[in-house]
């Protein structure tokens, strides 16, 4: 397997600006991923947008990953992924941060370890994307203006894209009010 080519021009710029932070980076087929510790994520994202050499003015997507059962060892169970685009420089960069849960992941109880700072103050478009990550993975975003579920309904008792959640659910699709013929 070819070695990753860490020649993305943003990487030395970020390393110079945050000399005391330990970054990891990977590259696959020309797409570079920068792995940031979760406490520095918000500062790094703000730097990537505001620095004139980086100039990532567009947030393409925010997603989550659950690495439970992943064949290769990963630095954490969950990851939050920010996909950035710079229209002025014609570049893309993936910024990722890993999170490890401290409590049982089958419920919906808030886990202080599954929290990162929201990027809605940097890119307002992050609002619905982060709501989706919260809905599907239960990763909470601090200072998010409206952190509600976006795809599943309000009282949904789980975060369904977690790998320990069964595909067919735990009976949520069967338990609902039944309208009979003589009610109408």
């Amino acid at each position: 397997m070819a070695q990753p080519m860490l020649d993305h021009p943003t990487l030395p710029r970020v390393k110079a600006a945050f000399s005391d932070v330990r970054f990891l980076a990977t590259e696959f087929r020309g797409q570079t991923t920068l792995v940031v510790p979760k406490d520095q994520l918000h500062q790094v994202l703000r730097f990537l947008r505001d620095d004139p050499e980086c100039d990532y003015n567009f947030l393409s997507d925010v997603t989550g990953v659950d690495y439970l059962g992943y064949p290769a060892k990963q630095p954490g169970r969950f990851a939050v992924v920010y996909l950035l685009v710079s229209h002025a420089r014609g570049r893309r960069l993936t910024v990722k941060t890993y999170l490890d849960p401290t409590i049982d992941t089958s419920g919906i109880d808030p886990d202080p370890a599954l929290e990162v700072d929201s990027a809605t103050d940097i890119w307002p478009g992050a609002e619905w994307r982060e709501r989706e990550v919260y809905d599907m993975f239960g990763i909470r975003f601090r200072n998010h203006p409206d952190l509600r579920r976006i795809l599943t309904w309000k009282d949904y008792p789980a975060h369904p894209l977690r790998k320990d959640y069964p595909l067919r659910g735990r009976g949520e699709r069967e338990t609902y009010r039944i309208v009979e013929r003589d009610q109408a």
């Binding site: 795809l151 599943t152 369904p160 009010r177 309208v179 009979e180 013929r181």
Partner: protein, 189 residues
Amino acid sequence: MGIETALPAEGFLTTQLQRVINWSRRSAVWPMPFATACCGIELMATATSRFDLARFGAEVFRFSPRQADLLIVAGRVAVKMLPVLQRIYLQMTEPKWVISMGACASTGGVFDTYAVVQGVDQFIPVDVYVPGCPPRPEQLIEGIMAIQRIIDRDNIPYDDQGKRIPLQIAIQPNYQPRRQPMEVSIGAT
């Protein structure tokens, strides 16, 4: 339709009132399309001139449940969509009938996941199931004609139950698929 020649000169015809009511109801079914997926496209095709649902008196699609008497559930229904479907059903005026169109509305289809209802008949009454993924327009017409047969019998005294219960009729496929692969011909077809 030829009945005029059989009538006497005075133009009177003796029948039951209930049969006249049923005849007028089944000749003017107003469907409410609850189209959530690709079955809705086939539902629209059924209303076009090629298949011409108007031949059976059911072409007046009403997007208000209060003006419709036939609910056609076309497509998969997520649990988040279920209160909408139930409310639309409750808002429809009596008498009303329900067609579950396609594999997803009837059984959940290939969407065997946590958020998709595995058959809307678990949560609302269904009269006719039309199979297919999606069903051909002919098959949907067959389903609507089954509803019309139900309406024809409705309230004609043939049992002691006063209240109509969902009949749960499943339409059988009404066409033969062509044998594949087909012979290749060149020139005029």
